[in-house]
Symmetry: C2
Subunit: 207 residues, 2 copies
DNA sequence: GCATAATGTAGAACAAGTTTCAGACTTGAT
DNA sequence: ATCAAGTCTGAAACTTGTTCTACATTATGC
C-alpha cells in the first residue's frame, strides 16, 4: 500500500457564506475564462469583476491583487488536475518514468489551454512575497502530485524530497521557456525526462 | 586544454554612435542603480529616464519595455559575472562540484544585491515572446558560464547539454523561490547541489 | 425585530507602464 | 554648407492595476 498524501487545501481562514462561496467561484471562473483566451494580459480586473457580476472593490476584497487571483486560479485548476491524474495512475514501472509520464500528461493538458497556462504560470513566478502563502499552497499541491506519481511504499527520504524540489523547479522553468516560445514541446519533454533521472539517483536502495 | 566558449554577445543590430552608446550605458546604469534598492518595482521608467538624463520617449526607443530594459540589465551584469568568474576558476575536481561551486559563487554575488537580483530575475521569467531574443541571449550566457565551469576537454554531448538545461531551470526557479522568501539560502544550496548530480550521470565515461 | 458591524456596489481617483506628437537637434550625403 | 532623414525632447494622453469614498445591503448578537 502506497503512502497517502495528506490533503493539501487552503487553511480556509473565515468560513464563507453560501453567497460568498458562489461569488468566489464566479470570480475564479471568470478569471479562468478570460485567461483561456488571451493569457495573462487578457485577465483585466475590471473585466473579471464584470464577468463575475461583482463590483471591482469586491473582487479586490476576495483577491487582493491580480497575481493573487491568478495563483488562486492555478490552485483551483491544479486541484482538478490532481484528481484527474489520480484516476489513471501512471503505468510505468520505475518511479522516474512514472513521474515523467505524469508530468507529461499534465503538460498535454496545459497544451490544450496554452493561454490559461500562460496566465497561471506567469503569475506564479512573478508573485512577490505578499503572495507567498498562496504560492506555497500551489507548490505543496505540485509536490503532492509528484510524490503520488512516484508511488512510494514509505515516506520519502530527504534526498528524494530534494529531487522532487528540483523536478518542480525544472517543471516551472521549462513551462516558462515553452510558453515564451523559446523551447519546443519536444525540448520540454527531454528536460522533464532528464530531471526525472534524479529520482533513480536518490532511491533509498542505492545507499 | 579545455574548450573555449564562443563569445556570447548581442548581434549588435545597427552600429551606435558614441553618444548613443553613452546614452545606452547611462540608461543601463540608472536601471541597475534603481533596481539595487527597491527591486523590480523601484525601477520606474520615468525615474530611469530622468536619472539617465534622457527623455522618456528615448528610453523607450532604446528599450521597448521595462522588461526589455531589465533583461538587458541582466545581460550586462552577467557579462561582468562571467569575466569575474573566469578569473578564479572553481577549485573542485569533478565537473559537478565545479558547477555547484561556480553557481554558489554567483549566488553569493546576488545575495550582495538582492534587490537587483529581484528585478533582473523577475523580469527574466516574466518576459513574454516579444523579449525572446534578449532572454535567449541571457540563457546562452548562463549556459556558457556553466559549460565553462564544467571544464570539459571536448565539446559537450547532447546529454550533457540536457543536464545543463535542467541546471539552468533549477537555477532560475530556485532563485525565484529564494527571492520571494519561500526558500532559504541553505535550501537553494541543496537544490543546486542536487541538480548538479545530473552532471555525473551524463558524463560520457559511463556510457 | 433591531441595532450594528461587516460586506457589497458604483464610480471616481491615483499610479506607473506605454504611446503619441509637435518641434528642436544631429548626422550623413551631396 | 545644406538638405533630408533620422533622433531626441518635453509634455500630454491613454491603459490598466490598485485604492478610496459614500452609500446600500446583508448578517449577527441581543
Amino acid at each position: 500500500m502506497t503512502v497517502e498524501a495528506k490533503a493539501v487545501t487552503t487553511p480556509a481562514s473565515p468560513p464563507l457564506t453560501e453567497r460568498q462561496e458562489a461569488r468566489r467561484r464566479r470570480i475564479l471562473h471568470a478569471s479562468a475564462q478570460l485567461a483561456g483566451r488571451g493569457g495573462f494580459d487578457a485577465v483585466q480586473m475590471r473585466e473579471v469583476a464584470e464577468a463575475a457580476g461583482v463590483a471591482l472593490g469586491t473582487l479586490y476584497r476576495y483577491f487582493p491583487s491580480k497575481v493573487h487571483l491568478l495563483v488562486a486560479t492555478m490552485q483551483d485548476q491544479l486541484q482538478h488536475m490532481h484528481t484527474t491524474l489520480r484516476k489513471r495512475p501512471p503505468a510505468a514501472e520505475d518511479p522516474a518514468a512514472r513521474v515523467a509520464e505524469t508530468l507529461m500528461r499534465a503538460f498535454r493538458a496545459l497544451q490544450r489551454e496554452p493561454h490559461l497556462a500562460d496566465a497561471m504560470v506567469r503569475a506564479l513566478t512573478f508573485a512577490d512575497r505578499s503572495v507567498s502563502p498562496e504560492v506555497d499552497t500551489v507548490s505543496r499541491l505540485t509536490t503532492a502530485i509528484i510524490l503520488d506519481a512516484m508511488g512510494l511504499e514509505s515516506a520519502p527520504t530527504a534526498e528524494q524530497l530534494s529531487a522532487v524540489r528540483v523536478i518542480e523547479h525544472t517543471w516551472h522553468s521549462a513551462l516558462i521557456t515553452w510558453l515564451s516560445g523559446r523551447a519546443s514541446i519536444a525540448q520540454v519533454k527531454i528536460d522533464i525526462e532528464t530531471v526525472c533521472r534524479l529520482i533513480d539517483l536518490t532511491a533509498p536502495e542505492r545507499a
